[in-house]
Symmetry: C2
Subunit: 468 residues, 2 copies
């Protein structure tokens, strides 16, 4: 218990709350074995080997691409090779988006190429027009309707790096909402400063959506140095850009969530759900996004399988299909398992890179707060703080959490995550094997203790589940 | 005088040498003004503004490209705008090389794109073949003739970062000599790990030459992460790559060395020659290579022009054409000024980025060593050490030095130069304005004192000048 870490008022409230009759506890037998598991995990390189294998042998694995199918086959084979007790896959169907070619250039007196990448979901097309720069999305929104007729909107917002990735809220909003706002103002094309924090010529892609009823226009992100350059040129006077994208939606594709399970000792039908997404964007090899998560969770479950005493519940690892284009794998899993909400003890996704985990929490109700704190205590030697008022579900857990599954949150240090996120630079060399092993240790300890808990963490079907 | 810095044996030899009758000295009047010049330079942003202007308004400026002509016009205009007394240009004719498109991909079971760039001077063509990896150039050279028939050679040598750039000797050799060696072994294509020290998906281009009598094959560099990837795949078993380059030589082009001069007070026909190259590779905007040098030397000369007391000799700044493909501008300048060797007091080129200058020397003979040490003393407050046994001419000065012009050496810290060199990442944001100003101060002080020296630095036509 790390009550001492709570703010005094919160600690008082916590201590004053009446203990539920069925307070969840981590049994002493599990706690007694946990130290050995933690130590072994820190010295184990399974996680690294899995990441190396996926990023090298499959490489980029855009949802719906030829590599998507190879990645699914890889995951099935890897789960088997790692000794999982059960391995299966579940279909996930979604529209397929393809990137074929993309070019942009300043035209005219300062002619020069620009490093851009189409936003995921963008339509193709070629436009050449004067650029109108806006410092942020609010400035674009403030433009008069029709005022960008025949122009290319350029939203030049620089997101900020932060350990918790909080800068992405504003940066990602430019990408998700910017094109539709620009279209409403009359723009025939959309450019944005990448939602990123690096200074390399590697533009950041990522999904965008056009609002219903709008006529889509080509939408792309400039690398950070190219956004700097275009801003400097725009400050000198009118500047025109030619944007040529060949990309777009092309039919439906069926991929698969791939699932591996380590069978529990006494309540095998109940699961602690961990996982990560198997797909990646196509520009890099998806090392931090999200081969790292695949490696972390596969390795953690394998280490638990090797323990002399299996936990009571099963450990289930899901390699989700197509997270990147809208949590399609997570939604399909939640729908397929809608009748088993209460069987999912806790659910966590590792999808924020490979930086060290620094904080832990669950969304468990009062009767399982003490057990959450017990797990946090076991994670503390890894440099992980109990953060009882923070956190939330990882992306592919959101649909499950909406149906009533309790989330767990293992917060990774994302200080450099947005240097790499959705870029060509997301490659294996960016991962620190020691930090990856710390992640594996944290997931192993968390999942082992949660799966052996006496009592539950509060997962229960919600009366009114929103549509997945 | 900083004799104390000399090694004891060297110092003894130095002190024992008979002083020439006409020992060169920096006059007290110049030394008295130098401090003010140094201070003003450190606070001046002319260098930064020049770099910003060139990289933004012209951008990439591959020799022979449309942007080459724009860069020449820019340089003429910039010299005038900065108040140079004389501005002129001199023709430089060379073969034109063009890059049109370039793609590479692993084919087969691990299909994935590779980030590559054609080496400058490469022929175009498309080849698909198994890759044979060599850890370094020596290993490729040791392969039996004909042993690579129908294969693509892959030289996977990682150059090392160093303040003085010494790792480039081995790294650059792979690029310059590798393709010819590979052809002799029967290879139908050549791939190399970029001669670079970064970890980004930005391959490093640079000139290569095929030895006479060989049938050229397509030659390209992989980014460092892509070389890592190809090495990992090759370690797993046979791996094939498709390399498709559309590039090549296409006729002759005439560019220009652009020259600006600040007229000397009393011996205007004698010059201290400083400069940098105006061309760049096409992937980045050539900020550290070599807009920085253009900014440093233009700004230094301008600051000297603004001094209340002009130096005795003229300061000449040359913006050399086409350094990148073989010192074409430097050779043309040396040829055009072959009759004026002795009029070139000292010559220096700034062509190693924008890192702080840490060492200084000249190639002057004994009678000007004391004057060299005097200049070094004036540079010491900038953090610059006198290195009397080190240095040599910058690239475009080599042809002049071969004819007898004495070089000066202002050594820049190149620790991160090969992170950027010849890549898309060579952009303005990589330059530290304070470090750039230190460079300007060093060039201004050096050129001012050398141009006012009583006596010469030993430039004299060599009896047998090698062909330029």
């Amino acid at each position: 218990m790390r009550i001492a870490l709570l703010a005094p008022a919160l600690a008082a409230a916590f201590l004053a709350a009446p203990a539920p009759a069925a307070e969840t506890r981590i049994p002493d037998a599990a706690l007694a074995q946990m130290g050995e598991l933690r130590t072994r995990a820190l010295a184990d390189d399974t996680g690294w080997k899995v990441v190396e294998s996926l990023t090298t042998e499959i490489g980029p694995r855009l949802a719906g691409s030829e590599a998507d199918a190879r990645a699914v086959a890889w995951a099935v084979a890897k789960f088997h090779a790692l000794g999982f007790d059960r391995v299966w896959s579940e279909p996930v169907t979604f529209p397929k988006w393809e990137r074929r070619s993309e070019h942009a250039a300043v035209v005219g007196a300062h002619a020069q190429p620009l490093a851009i990448t189409a936003l995921g979901g963008s339509v193709g097309g070629t436009v050449e027009a004067q650029v109108v720069r806006f410092p942020d999305l609010a400035a674009l929104e403030a433009a008069a309707d029709g005022s960008l007729a025949g122009r290319i909107a350029f939203v030049d917002f620089q997101m900020q790096a932060a350990r918790d990735g909080s800068g992405y809220r504003a940066g990602g909003a430019v990408r998700s909402r910017g094109p539709s706002v620009a279209i409403r103002k009359g723009a025939i094309g959309f450019l944005m400063r990448s939602a990123g924090t690096d200074n390399h010529r590697v533009p950041h892609t990522g999904i965008t959506r056009y609002d219903d009823g709008l006529e889509p226009v080509p939408a792309a992100a400039l690398s950070i140095p190219d956004a700097d350059q275009l801003a400097r040129l725009a400050a000198r006077g009118p500047v025109s850009v030619r944007l040529a994208l060949d990309c777009g939606w092309d039919g439906q594709y069926t991929s698969h969530n791939v699932i591996g399970q380590i069978t529990g000792r006494s309540r095998p039908q109940e699961v602690v759900l961990i996982g990560a997404h198997l797909d990646s964007w196509d520009l890099g090899t998806g090392a931090v996004d999200d081969a790292a998560g695949i490696g972390i969770t596969m390795a953690a479950a394998r280490l638990i399988a090797q323990m002399p005493r299996r936990p009571a519940r099963s450990i289930r690892v899901v390699a989700y299909a197509n997270e990147e284009q809208g949590l399609l794998g997570g939604r399909a899993y939640a729908q397929a398992h809608a009748d088993g909400i209460a069987l999912h003890q806790l659910a966590a996704e590792s999808d924020f890179g490979a930086g060290r985990i620094y904080a832990f929490n669950t969304g468990a109700p009062a009767h399982a707060r003490a057990a959450t704190a017990q797990i946090a205590g076991a994670l503390a030697p890894l440099g992980i703080a109990y953060a009882p008022d923070k956190g939330g579900p990882g992306p592919d857990i959101i649909p499950l959490a909406a149906r009533g599954v309790t989330w767990a949150w293992l917060a990774q240090d994302g200080s450099d995550y947005f240097h790499l996120h959705h870029t060509a630079d997301d490659t294996l060399d960016k991962i620190d094997p020691a930090a990856l092993a710390q992640n594996v240790a944290a997931y192993a300890v968390f999942a082992y203790l949660a799966a052996d808990a006496e009592g539950d963490f509060g997962s229960a079907p919600k009366a009114a589940s929103p549509a997945p």
